[in-house]
């Protein structure tokens, strides 16, 4: 089966995308020296043309994804997390203009035809949606729906399908899988629905699992259980996971690497320890500062909020998009008129801040 999907992608893509790999090959990212990445995104840009202007939903996003690793993408609403994920699978509406490269299995998925994408979607790269109730078909039995996800890509008999469906439901921790498979999504609890979504996503044993805010709609205990399901899956299948979330707690628990996005741009990228213990971008620092933590020394310390609102993606602030809200910004200087490049600040940690190296010495401009 490896042959099937791989070959078809190769063969079909060579004629349309026979361009050489033009991405910045000198790209240094957190994650050098771990072999070939399974997915490599280069300069991914997504724009929507609207009557008011061009919406820059994702701007020059680049990252590598490695087998058996989890990449957390964090950011506020509208920071381009979901758009990036949708762009990888070519799921954006036709109104979106996507540029850049998404290299998977030797082919560029950006601009690929539906025919080329279909054998990849769900089979090699699968997605878990946020709202499981909405993402499950209300008139199909849960079991039939999981079976459907497999029969799209594989010729299996009804018996084989049924057996696998029950194994999958069991794997994601749904009790009485045989009976539950016969039920409909609305008869499931929120946690069970999300588990069902995960079962569907892993049904074809994908190389990459993209989870778009999979725990946002769940309460905390169920969240922990669902994250546990992701971890157990990775332990066994070595799937690479992209975990999109705005919840830093989720990222801290599950991710190996973290990509922080702001206004469609990558602002920081590093290992989970780097991001949490030595953030090199003011936005990351602000995010962490707004997070309630049990391990803070002084219990009476107040949570700090990030003043202001995320910017409009049509009228982005000049220079660094974060400068109007930044505590460290040089408002008279470079921050307002020069867009900072994403650069290595040591150990492969990337930061898009003009003052990434001197953040600790800079006095915050407190109003």
């Amino acid at each position: 089966m490896t042959g099937y999907a791989t070959r078809s992608i190769h063969n079909r893509c060579t004629d349309v995308n026979d361009l050489p790999f033009t991405g910045s090959t000198d790209f240094v990212g957190a994650g050098v020296g771990r072999g070939e990445p399974v997915l490599s995104v280069r300069n991914l840009t997504v724009e929507f043309k609207t009557d008011e202007g061009i919406v820059h939903a994702a701007d020059d996003v680049s990252f590598d994804l490695h087998t058996n690793e989890t990449l957390g993408i964090v950011g506020e609403s509208g920071s381009g997390k979901s758009v990036t994920a949708m762009a990888i699978l070519g799921l954006l509406p036709k109104t979106a203009e996507v540029h850049g490269q998404v290299m998977f299995d030797g082919a560029n998925l950006v601009g690929a035809k539906e025919r080329q994408l279909q054998p990849v979607r769900g089979n090699r790269i699968a997605m878990v949606f946020q709202d499981a109730l909405a993402a499950l078909n209300p008139v199909l039995r849960v079991g039939d729906q999981i079976a459907e996800a497999m029969s799209v890509h594989h010729d299996l008999t009804k018996r084989e399908l049924n057996g696998r469906v029950i194994d999958l439901l069991d794997l994601v921790g749904i009790p009485q899988p045989g009976r539950r498979a016969e039920q409909y999504a609305h008869e499931f609890s929120g946690g069970m629905r999300q588990r069902t979504m995960i079962a569907m996503a892993i049904a074809n044993d994908p190389d990459i699992l993209i989870a778009d805010e999979p725990t946002t709609a769940l309460d905390v205990t169920i969240q922990a259980q669902v994250l546990d399901v992701f971890e157990r899956i990775q332990l066994r299948t070595k799937t690479a996971i992209v975990m999109i979330t705005h919840d830093l707690g989720v990222v801290a628990g599950i991710a190996d690497e973290v990509l922080v996005m702001y206004a469609g741009r990558q602002v920081e990228h590093g290992t989970v320890d780097d991001i949490f213990y030595s953030p090199r971008h003011p936005y990351t620092r602000a995010l962490l500062g707004s997070l309630p933590r049990l391990d803070r020394r002084h219990g009476n310390e107040r949570l700090r909020r990030i003043k202001g609102q995320p910017p409009s993606l049509i009228f982005l602030p000049s220079g660094c998009a974060f400068h109007p809200r930044c505590e460290y910004a040089d408002l008279a200087g470079v921050c307002t008129h020069e867009r900072p490049a994403l650069r290595d600040v040591g150990n492969g940690q990337l930061s898009a801040c003009h003052f990434a190296d001197t953040l600790d010495e800079r006095a915050p401009n407190v109003p």
Binding site: L89, N123, N137, R164, G173, P175, R180, G191, Q225
Partner: protein, 315 residues
Amino acid sequence: MSRLPPPADVLEAEPVVADEVALAPGTEPVPRTNWQLFRRRFLRHRLAVVSLVILVILFIACFGASWLAPYPRHPSAVDLLLGTSSGPSAKHWFGTDELGRDQLTQILYAGQTSLKIGLVVALLSTAAGTIVGALAGYHGRWIDQLLSRVTDLFLIVPSIAILAVALKKFGQTPNWILIVLAALGWMYVARVVRGQVLSIKEKEFVDAARASGASNRRIIVRHILPNCIGPIMVNMTLAIAAAIIAESTLSFLGFGVQPPDNSWGLMLSQAEGAAAEFNRFYEIFFPGLMILLTVLAVNFLGDGLRDAFDPQSVH
């Protein structure tokens, strides 16, 4: 198939944390087949059940007319010569027409044509309308423009006139009638299905299906149309009723089936003379009653089916 190892090998089951508290005995989910659930929901709809029974009886009676009808379909010449109109009696439950033919017998035979036209026209036009509506709604853009304008075109032509001309040209046989009726009746279903598909294709489960690699055809057939089954069923039952009525209208106007074929509409038209005479009311009453009964029963049945098809209704 090598990409699909049996999950039991790779992922040998490990005790998993259940987020559900163990269910109390007796409340655990009972496995039910699709059919059982469907039947259960349908049976809650009393009127629909009664309607189904009436329709089944009508169908059996009409299509078993050769065995069930009390008198021969074509009476002998002598009987016809001697026959005269008479009211309902123990001998002739629905009376006789002016040629002395037993009305009950005639109604049963005529019902074969009327019911066949109703059912087949509804099936054909629903199928055609569903295909057109689904394609227009799903693909949008120029496909939608094209199909919707064709639908509009069919809607604005005066159908009775087209029917009359077409039937005069092709011949007024039941088969041509049902083809022409279906050709002029699919637009209503197409519009309804298009609207449904337009709203359902925006649902997240359609995105999820695309994300799992399903093709457009698969998405339409497996994910979108099953969600439209309610409106489609209701429209199909309405189409049965509409076709029976349309056939009656055509026959009444003289463009429908011709003797020796018979239909309820034709019986009505032949009895038009009786309309003036109150004591021959039965010649209009009984064929009319049959049409009314069928149309009503079919509508109630449609209601019941719509509810029964919806897995989220009572179960």
